[in-house]
Symmetry: C3
Subunit: 434 residues, 3 copies
């Protein structure tokens, strides 16, 4: 039996937390009420009314009631999934007992919220046996309230060394008759508490990058049909840094990320989708410089690359302090080595369609050409690259398209945004390819 | 039950090895006798009379006697812990039998050394079952000599792929009634032998960086209440490189490192402690440039950043080959993005005290401001940054303070050094915060 | 019992795949027939007639016959080992049944190919239990055809998160009486399918670097006496990139790599062997610049380092924008810090012989000196470095020599190439050292 994905969403881009009760406001549920109204590209794939760290301990009783109030009223119309976070701690039985109480309070069907809730988020888990304790409480509550066993999803925050190790045990434990761990949905990294648990120190106090944690979380998700989500990015002003982090994560197979504001939700909803238009980048001493497009030419506008014609088909190319004399062929070869193309949604759909047609016609591999004319110091150089596409290339290229399709099917509220970004025609073609 | 730390030291900064017997010297124990006299900032947290690799095989019999001689005489006054390293090899029963013999020899209470020994270091371990064999020998020796079972600590050198894998099994095995693995104390990476075991090759013959090994060791320590220590840094002259390595390790939660000389001990004892004074760094094309402080201004003295006033509140900023025109706000924003503050011990204590007071007053999060006036090409620019502190920030910031407190409590011989570095007042405040 | 290596080859540099049946050719086995004739430095250590991804599904029946035809005829003379890849998939029982059928077809002793086949390559494995299923089929086939149980090697392609996790379970499972996993030989990463399985996305569509996968594969090999091989490097034109990848892999203990062409085989056969001549590199702002050798001087030819004599034994050294005034000693120190020596085969053999002689004479450690005269802006600076060699250094330095010896013993067809590269004298000395 293959790795199964048991939930509606195969991909989750955004995990947006909201405090459940804020002190000092006339209406302590004000932030919940505002968040539940989010629609379209600002609305997350998974919304997390956060009755743990985002809410003061003294306000959590009230927070649980707020969740119930707000969801029973407006939960039906929320376009994403809803997974409240409740308290938990691997080292504290009293916190775990509070967790059971919060579950009983929020899931009570008489309160009318549970029908809009897709699952719960459990923070601060430890060993796999600790995960089972949380799973068991959810089973007990499901049974108590006449809900189908396993119908409530469970997501965990991986924020301890123990939990990271548990990621490697998961596959041995899911499917055992004595648990319902098949309810697992998201594996979410929590780098702030993880840093504390690992006792790491950085000079500035910023979080370490923890690449191995993210790899292990992504691998745990892959091996168990789950979805990996990165933790919060604190510096809300730093949109560029948020995007860099997401690009890094995506190369690890971690396609979702925590969002702290609707602005971050919007950025993170768009980030794993292919761009509207393709672009060329040039590798200049290890930095990737985006080339400006103008009238079909790709223009290098920096100072670090200099190109000069020094004779018939003879050029001097200087990159940083490295200077070389090249003929036309060598120049094209050199620039081709340094140039990368970032394909657009249309490019990917085109290539997939072309490959599908070739496969239909009995061919297993085809060459896809990318070419461009670069403009450097007024000199035009045309480069052209053939890339072989076979079944494996095709399937790897499919990930962003599968994600797009998952979004389109599950988020009708984003249809307009997507069509505005890409145009109707390419959206339609993207929905049938693959 | 939570992860327990069962030993006196919660943190170990330094693991200093000394050959136990040197051939050709009049007194073969000369180096041991010198090392046992170390005091203060040059004395390590853990001293390791090394009866394995640092001592020639033919001298180890004599080395064991030297350990006993030197420790029975001067061990009582040594300010750090004492953990001799004895021989062991996962692939050699005869080496393991020698290990038992060395244990019996050194731990013999009639020789008067064992009362000053905190534990033993076991190199070249393999699978977790191999760790248990060493543990069992120590148990047998404890029993034979009437020592309390589990009273001798055991530290291991992780220097094989098998031992790295065992780090993931540890949590399943500690606490079983058939072993005393709770005696485990330090997990020490041994990169030279690990490189051999992994059959790695580098062009220059220098050691690979092995980031995953260090992560897995640190995680193994975190998940089992142990302490992670990095292996030796061979290039003793290269103080800057040693510090860079330690900074990297600290970001992985590996706060201790092997030291080969008292000079390295001093550097490594100081490295994880916060600096006396705060400082600002500027990110210049990916390099972090420290700004010089003068009369309250932070001055950029390099050539890669150029700033010029080109009109009323209009500036031209050039960083490397990237040139931009900015107004005052944009300039401040840009420099703020590139500037990082490295807080001092005082800054950290101030922030923690401030947060504790806020918490007392019922507030869960407060903004901490950092501001500075930078001086670039004669132009002053004041930047200011608010950072939110909540419970999690507070707890993560606490690691260097907890380390400081552990050092202060366990190392009275370093009080003078610490007071000289930080001043008495801040030392006192650091001891009560948190 | 120590980690055992159970196969003839202790090292494998090259894993060369060839499609087994190409449509549209007069002779569909044409590529196999060409590959089986490879000899010398273009012939791989392991040749893989690829009846999986490289061959269209509709051609695999014919491909299996082609393997049998070509190997029964010419397999005896092939200088490397032969390990055909057959189909397999952790998620598909029907593919696994096809695998059994391919095994029965290819291994049938009446067809005369199996005596030239060293083992089989199983792709797309999952959990360790899935590895056992493939192992069991091979056992059944061995038994059916009267071959010794365990005599056929099994290599796997690690191309899923599950298989990566299985690398950690291997050591617990090998040696159990209910399997023959001791037949395992190569652990080969397959990054294209792994990327798909992990659902990773990169902007350009190129493969992520997956450093953790490679580490875990190498560690799995080390802990179980197996050999780690990296996956294919698609950009066949990019020889420099292929070498960079191999250098990275070697620092991880992954000494072999997939090759797609005889040209790549040649590069990969040479890459882990020490160079013919030593060379010096200078670290210039984080980049390693190779110095040109001329008349015994090592010349820096770039623009980023400037050196000027400004007085008696006084120099100004500018590296990038960092400028310093130094006396002769400081200058030598500074350049020594920045310079690295890449030893030649002769250097390594010399050092090992020297250390062996010292050990014989009862010394455990000796200093090896490296010195060179650098020429920068017309100024000569002589630097000299002592490096301590002890038993551990000696053993770590031994890896490339052990590899060389393994190659020389197992690949008589490469003797001529090796002697041409290194000269006869050093080849002979390299064969007896260590």
């Amino acid at each position: 039996m293959s790795v199964q994905r048991r939930h509606d969403r195969k991909f989750v881009r955004t995990f947006f937390t909201t405090p459940t009760a804020v002190k000092g406001e006339e209406d302590s549920a004000k932030m919940l009420r505002r968040a539940v109204q989010l629609r379209g590209i600002e609305a997350p794939d998974v919304w997390v009314p956060d009755n743990e760290d985002a809410t003061a301990p003294s306000m959590r009783e009230e927070g649980a009631e707020n969740i119930v109030d707000v969801l029973s009223e407006d939960g039906a119309d929320f376009p994403g999934e809803i997974h409240p976070r409740i308290v938990w701690h691997r080292d504290s039985p009293s916190t775990r007992y509070q967790s059971l109480q919060q579950l009983l309070q929020i899931a009570n069907p008489e309160k009318g919220a549970i029908e809009h809730i897709d699952g719960f988020v459990i923070p601060e888990v430890g060993d796999i046996d600790d995960w089972k304790k949380a799973d068991e409480f959810i089973t007990v509550v499901e049974n108590e309230y006449g809900l189908e066993e396993g119908s409530l999803a469970m997501s965990v925050i991986v924020e301890s060394g123990e939990a990271e190790l548990a990621l490697g045990d998961l596959r041995d434990e899911m499917g055992k008759p004595s648990n319902n761990l098949e309810r697992l949905f998201l594996l979410v990294d929590g780098e702030v508490d993880y840093t504390k648990d690992m006792r790491a120190i950085t000079p500035t106090g910023e979080l370490p990058p923890w690449p191995e944690l993210r790899h292990n979380t992504s691998r745990g998700a892959s091996a168990n049909g789950l979805i990996a989500i990165d933790g919060p990015y604190d510096d809300i002003r730093d949109v560029e840094g948020y995007h860099e982090r997401m690009t890094e994560n995506q190369a690890k197979g971690m396609l979702g990320i925590w969002s702290l504001t609707p602005g971050q939700v919007e950025e993170a909803n768009k980030s794993p989708l292919p761009p509207k238009t393709g672009s060329w980048r040039l590798d200049v001493n290890g930095r990737e410089v985006k080339l400006a497009e103008e009238d079909g030419l790709y223009i290098y506008e920096g100072d670090d690359v200099e190109l000069e014609e020094i004779g018939d088909e003879q050029y001097r190319l200087q990159i940083g302090s490295d200077e070389r004399e090249l003929d036309t062929n060598e120049l094209e070869e050199e620039l081709l080595d340094r140039a990368d193309y970032i394909p657009s949604m249309t490019d990917i759909v085109d290539s997939m369609e072309e490959f599908e047609a070739a496969k239909e016609a009995g061919r297993g591999a085809i060459a896809m050409e990318q070419s461009a004319t670069l403009l450097i110091d007024g000199i035009e150089v045309t480069i052209s690259n053939d890339r072989m596409w076979d079944e494996a290339t095709y399937q790897a290229a499919q990930t962003p398209i599968s994600l797009f399709q998952d979004v389109y099917e599950n988020r009708p509220d984003q249809h307009e945004d997507l069509e505005e970004i890409y145009g109707e025609e390419i959206v339609e073609r993207a929905m049938v390819v693959g």
